[in-house]
């Protein structure tokens, strides 16, 4: 699982520029699915036909895009101005290495003398080591997207830090599930949706769900935790098991789906915790509101330091996300 995650993390996919990561994921999905295609917005959809007679449509979704930046202007001295794509904490991304789609490297730094409290996108520049604007223009163009350099650090047998864990870990979980379904086929049709543009306001998952019209949906994404120093109280911690979502600020999950997930986990003795996220939205809401409404739930991966370069999660939690989802897929009762 870690190897897979490393593969996915190392391919760039800033919101709106997901073609490369989609291609990487389809390498995994194409051999084990019945149909793999992208929709108009670029979401990758892998369809796995069920073995049953009366098949329901289950949609699993994780977003493959990551937060990043776009070049907006090139200063005379060759430094680049930028705008954020998605929710960037500039204090967390200052003084970092950045990578462009074409492989160009650079460093993201604040203007000299600007205090950390005032680090906003219009006070930041990217230095790509160009000697002047002309030199810079040979290597990058206005409108090019880029992100903080990918990274995976194995801290202990279970704890991993790096970026973009949000939400390549969700993608990894879905690939893992698809592989396991090869051994143990599911009676229902399963659609694996690797959505685009989640980080800029859940724009991709809704259109994908509109085409699929699923009966049920499970979303995989990272969630915050209450186990860091100074954290707001939240009964969710690394190593506490898969986080079954009750709500976040964009969605109230379908109670039937949530209850079923809890019941299945309990029966098997799998460790789980309830997720009540007070800030942040996920694809779950976009799918829920698609068509005439979809019964949607989510299983989240407890993650510390989200949207930084050192997003940290627990491999044990991640494996439980896979196991509980498989129980759900194989369960006759979905709610």
């Amino acid at each position: 699982m870690l190897t897979k995650l490393k593969h996915l993390v190392n391919v760039s996919g800033v919101s709106g520029r997901e073609a490369a990561i989609a291609a990487k994921i389809s390498e995994y999905m194409t051999p084990i699915c019945d149909k793999v295609y992208t929709d108009a917005m670029g979401s990758l959809i892998a369809y796995k036909k069920g073995t049953g007679e009366k098949r329901r449509k289950i949609m699993l979704v994780a977003h493959m895009d990551e937060i990043g930046f776009v070049v907006t202007h090139i200063e005379k001295n060759g430094m680049l101005r930028l705008a954020p794509i998605g929710g960037i904490h500039f204090s967390a991304s200052a003084f970092s290495e950045v990578v462009f789609e074409n492989g160009q490297r650079g460093v993201l730094v604040p203007e000299t003398g600007v205090k950390p409290n005032d680090w906003t996108y219009d006070k930041m520049v990217v230095d790509i080591g160009a000697k002047d604007a002309r030199d810079a223009e040979k290597r990058v163009a206005i409108g090019d997207f880029f992100s903080v350099a990918p990274n995976v650090i194995k801290l202990s047998a279970r704890r991993i830090a790096g970026r973009p864990i949000d939400d390549r870990i969700g993608c990894t979980i879905m690939i893992e599930i698809a592989e396991r379904l090869q051994e143990e086929p599911c009676a229902d049709d399963v659609y694996f949706v690797f959505s685009v543009q989640e980080e800029v306001g859940v724009r991709g998952a809704g259109p994908a769900a509109e085409q699929i019209c699923p009966d049920y949906c499970i979303n995989f994404d990272v969630t915050g935790t209450g186990d860091t120093i100074g954290a707001k109280p939240m009964a969710c911690e690394l190593g506490g098991g898969a986080a079954i979502k009750v709500k976040d600020s964009s969605v109230l999950c379908h109670k039937g789906v949530t209850d079923r997930l809890v019941k299945l986990a309990k029966e098997k003795g799998y460790k789980y915790q309830m997720e009540i996220l007070t800030a942040g939205g996920t694809d779950t809401s976009a799918v829920q509101k698609s068509g005439t409404g979809v019964k949607a739930g989510a299983i989240s991966i407890p993650t510390r330091y989200i949207h930084s370069g050192v997003e940290m999660f627990d491999l044990g939690d991640t494996r439980l996300c896979v196991e509980i989802t498989l129980l759900y897929l194989h369960s006759d009762k979905k709610e």
């Binding site: 108009a40 776009v70 907006t72 219009d122 206005i142 724009r203």
Partner: protein, 358 residues
């Protein structure tokens, strides 16, 4: 009566059309496009959607591809929420208006069929306390004066729910009259460009390999843009978003934060606050401009916007490009645009629709 070029823009800008109250604009648009289209309809939320059937080489008559060109038609304004005993009108803002630009401005107040003149007034400066003078007067402390002396008199002309727009005549100004100023340029420039596009296609007998839809949409100044409804109905395979882009090319604004500038041509955005435009098609659009000698500039930033995102979500996902026209003083009574930018947008639309291979 058909109008062309700057006269067309002038006529469109003159029409009364705050978000949700666009009847005169709709009528004017329909009158201007009827000869150049195959069909049109006004949908349930008031969008005007017109269709030009394809017929060119590669046109699939059974299952035609659909391209949508979308722009707004409404303008920012005010809505009356109370008529005082003395005949003064209290109001809320419709759209993203900076209250600082309101004081003393002339308005048209009514419902589109009948509008009366009015002005925005607030407590006179010499009656304000020193503290009040330092502070910005919020819109809720201002009122509209339509010259009525009682509530009854005022209600002969307007009522709660009536709307208002700025009342600034269209004028060309500057060296060789290269600039134009008016209210409502934010949407009507796009409408004019699309009207002229339709006429150019008609007069040039251009055969397109797809069905071309154009949508003039309402409520483009609000968060819930009606473009969503038009896009859901048309279900395009490809969409072109024509909208104003704020030009912050004022003194004192660093070049890196000015978004776009007047006179530099079509302002092509790669992303804005609600949509990311398609990379390859945007590159194609730029190449098309270069081939045809049409000036383009990149929008240097990700400005606030509604239209593109509404179309993309309404269509349940669609590839899009953005053709913007730079406008200074957006959402004020004195919006300023450059004539050459208008023609650049119109010509690039015309050149590009012929190239789309859908």
């Amino acid at each position: 009566m058909k109008y062309y070029g700057l006269e067309l823009i002038e006529q469109l800008c003159r029409e009364f059309g705050p978000s949700g109250c666009c009847d005169p604009v709709r009528e004017a648009l329909v009158e201007q496009i009827t000869d150049a289209i195959d069909d049109y309809f006004v949908d349930r939320v008031g969008n005007v959607v017109a269709k030009v059937c394809g017929s060119g080489e590669g046109y699939n008559a059974k299952n035609p591809k659909k391209v949508l060109v979308c722009t707004g038609m409404d303008e920012v304004g005010m809505i009356i929420n109370r008529v005082s005993d003395k005949g003064h009108l209290k109001f809320s803002l419709v759209g993203d208006i900076d209250a600082r630009c309101l004081g003393g401005k002339s308005l048209l107040v009514g419902d589109g069929n009948r509008a009366v003149k009015g002005i925005v007034a607030s407590k006179a400066i010499h009656l304000q306390s020193p503290e009040e003078r330092r502070k910005l007067t919020p819109a809720r402390k201002m009122y509209i004066d339509i010259g009525a002396e009682s509530a009854d008199e005022a209600k002969e002309y307007v009522d709660v729910g009536s709307m208002a727009t700025f009342d600034t005549p269209f004028e060309c100004f500057g060296e060789q009259k290269a600039f134009m100023r008016a209210k409502a340029l934010e949407s009507r420039l796009g409408c004019a460009a699309i009207i002229e596009l339709l006429r150019m296609l008609k007069s040039g007998r251009v055969k397109l390999p797809y069905d071309l839809y154009v949508a003039f949409t309402d409520c483009s100044q609000l968060t819930f843009s009606a473009a969503r409804v038009a896009a859901a109905r048309v279900k395009p395979d490809f969409a072109m978003i024509v909208e104003a882009r704020e030009a912050l090319d004022y003194p004192g604004v660093a070049e890196s934060t000015r978004l776009c500038a007047l006179g530099q041509g079509v302002a092509i955005a790669f992303a804005d606050g609600c949509a990311i435009y398609h990379k390859e098609h945007t590159a194609e659009l730029r190449a098309c401009a270069q081939k045809n000698g049409i000036a383009v500039q990149a929008v240097c930033g990700t400005p606030r916007a509604q239209l593109g995102g509404s179309v993309q979500q309404g269509a349940h996902g669609v590839r899009m490009v953005s053709l913007g026209y730079p406008v200074r003083n957006l959402h004020t009574p004195v919006q300023v645009a450059k004539v050459s930018d208008y023609y650049a947008v119109r010509d690039l639309l015309f050149s590009y629709v012929k190239e789309i291979k859908e």
